[in-house]
């Protein structure tokens, strides 16, 4: 009868039970929805970061820390070959490519812009920007003095596909160099910074411009994002004796905006959940305190029939536990429906620093469900502690006298 009495009590006070369940469910549903929304936003930023940086990058610490005075961080072809041999042993390895990035000036007519020339392996399939070309064509392996330009930079320099520009730069030897380039295509990318600054050229041409056969980084694609940290650790272990030293950085290390936004999302969710939990706590505390107060005589009867204080506490606490579990479960169901409904709306927005609109959505995963459920459960059970203790502490004779 231990489980029966609390259930019957809840059924007897249906209105109060429904109000309590609604409050708990509402709090849980809102928590779930907010968490699902933030998780989805976090995933979108993660995907953009991986698209921009790859899963991993391997380079000299001088490059990552921006401490080099010249180009001493460049990796020679034989070091790249050794690195590739190491990468092929990595279980989650899918593909790799190399890059060489350097500053320069791009001029068209009487307009000049500071740009980052990024020399890539054309048609490599990994960070070759082929999928982002919105006009013209992607770079081909046999291209030389060709370039892909971002939409924003094309607007700034009034460029169209087939136009010629001149790039000027300083070689690794410190000499001045300049060369004409033909715009093979225009790309669109989620990051406005990339679109307005990065000019993509074939690796062969980039090395020619810079007068080197080296590259500055190896970019690695893994079979899944979740494998990144473990793969980074294994590769780092394999590079422990490399001289000069090499460093592995993950997409997360390379994307400060992801780290900042992720921390901000955690803070936002924590604050919202705390506020909702406190609200649920106090409302349920008041509801249960009043409910138990109304049943003082019932408590007296139970005690007079031989129930110990612990048993009275258990009875009333389990009544709250039923409320907590049922309310949280209803809230989870409501939250999932709310999230799915929101996804169906397909609302678009333009995240800061991006040029492509993103669809606002939610992602419901095991943690998105578990966390709000547990938070509501704990908040409700904590709110039940005081009234249940009060009920257990009542003197039988006083409880029986209550009219």
């Amino acid at each position: 009868m231990w489980w029966w009495i609390p259930l019957r009590s809840l059924w007897r006070n249906r209105r109060r039970t429904l109000i309590s369940l609604a409050i708990i469910a509402f709090g849980t549903a809102i928590s779930l929805f907010v968490l699902a929304f933030l998780d989805n936003a976090r995933d979108q930023i993660r995907d953009v970061s991986v698209a921009e940086y790859g899963n991993l990058q391997i380079a000299s610490p001088l490059l990552f820390d921006d401490e080099a005075e010249g180009y001493e961080y460049l990796l020679t072809p034989d070091r790249v070959e050794l690195l590739n041999a190491l990468l092929r042993n990595e279980p989650s390895y899918v593909a790799s490519t190399v890059q060489l990035e350097f500053p320069g000036l791009a001029a068209s007519g009487n307009q000049t812009q500071v740009v980052r020339l990024r020399a890539i392996e054309p048609a490599n399939g990994l960070l070759d920007f082929g999928e982002y070309v919105v006009e013209g064509r992607e770079l081909r392996p046999d291209d030389l003095a060709s370039a892909l330009v971002g939409r924003a930079l094309a607007d700034l320099l009034s460029l169209e596909v087939g136009d010629a520009i001149t790039v000027t730069l300083t070689t690794v030897d410190g000499a001045y160099n300049a060369s004409p380039l033909v715009i093979a295509g225009i790309y669109g990318f989620s990051s406005e910074q990339v679109e307005s600054q990065v000019l993509l050229v074939p690796l062969r041409f980039g090395q020619l411009l810079l007068n080197t056969n080296g590259i500055d980084r190896v970019i690695v694609e893994l079979d899944r994002i979740e494998a990144t940290d473990a793969a980074a650790a294994r590769i780092e272990a394999g590079l422990a004796d490399a001289e000069p030293p090499l460093e592995v950085r993950t997409w997360e290390d390379l994307s400060p905006i992801y780290q900042q936004l992720s921390s901000y999302f955690d803070l936002l969710f924590g604050f919202l959940t705390l506020a909702i939990s406190v609200l649920v706590f106090f409302i349920i505390l008041q509801v249960l305190t009043l409910a138990f107060l109304e049943r003082t005589r019932e408590i007296g009867t139970l005690r007079a029939l031989g129930t110990t204080r612990g048993e009275v506490f258990r009875l009333f606490f389990s009544e709250s536990a039923w409320l907590a579990v049922l309310g949280s479960l209803i809230g989870i169901l409501g939250g999932i429906l709310l999230s799915l409904g929101f996804n169906a709306l397909g609302i678009e927005w333009l995240p800061p620093g991006t040029v492509e609109p993103s669809v606002l959505g939610t992602r419901v995963g095991p943690l998105t469900v578990l966390l709000p459920f547990l938070v509501s459960l704990v908040a409700t059970l904590l709110s039940a502690l005081y009234p249940a203790l009060q009920a257990a502490r009542l003197r039988v004779v006083d409880a029986l006298r209550v009219e």
């Binding site: 005589r297 029939l305 029986l400």
Partner: protein
């Protein structure tokens, strides 16, 4: 000192005017209330020395209580109310066995047909019969009843008293009944008057 016969088949009536301490006496005998001084012994048990939880367990197993206002739990059926003390005492077999015993007792008090009704669906007299069945369910040696007929009309009250006297003989249980109603006190084998704080046995 109040002594019941060893056979535990006594029917003792306490009577006296209102506010003379009759209910306080019952409450202290059951451990529901504590004496500010003195000792309470029920058989070999020193009730005044027990802790709250010891008293509760002892009361659940050894004492049946019948209240003036019946004190049935409104969300449980009559049968479930009767089963309640057995459930708390946790030593009376399976739920099925407990229900069988509850139905047997409800049959003895004449309301087996109302076993699955809620207390709100039966009359005051029937509720008091449920309360009597509940008091007897754990086979206590002593049943204390505090003004058991005060909320019943005289005819129903009379039938409840008859019932208790019959059960007193049938179950070998001592009934201590507190009342201010002289008509009720007539049902007792022993009559004890409470007056000015003292007990006086009357013939």
């Amino acid at each position: 000192m109040l002594k019941a016969q060893k056979s535990f088949r006594t029917h003792i009536g306490f009577f006296g005017r209102r506010n003379t301490g009759k209910s306080s006496l019952i409450n202290m005998l059951t451990g529901i209330d504590r004496p500010t001084s003195g000792e309470i012994w029920v058989g070999p048990h020193a009730v005044h020395q027990m802790s709250e939880d010891e008293i509760a367990s002892w009361r659940g197993r050894n004492v049946g209580v019948v209240f003036q206002f019946f004190q049935l739990l409104p969300m449980l059926t009559c049968a479930q109310n009767v089963m309640l003390p057995m459930d708390f005492a946790n030593r009376y077999g399976s739920t099925r066995e407990m229900r069988e015993r509850a139905l047997h007792l409800l049959d003895q008090v004449g309301i087996a047909g109302h076993a699955d009704k809620l207390p709100s669906a039966v009359s005051g007299g029937q509720r008091q019969r449920v309360a009597i069945a509940r008091a007897l369910i754990t086979r206590p040696k002593i049943v204390l009843a505090d003004e058991p007929t005060a909320n019943l009309d005289s005819e129903t009250g009379g039938s409840v008293m008859e019932l208790m006297r019959g059960l007193n003989e049938e179950h070998c249980v001592t009934f201590l009944i507190v009342t201010h109603d002289p008509a009720v006190s007539d049902y007792g084998e022993r009559h004890i008057r409470i007056h000015d704080g003292s007990l006086r046995e009357e013939s």
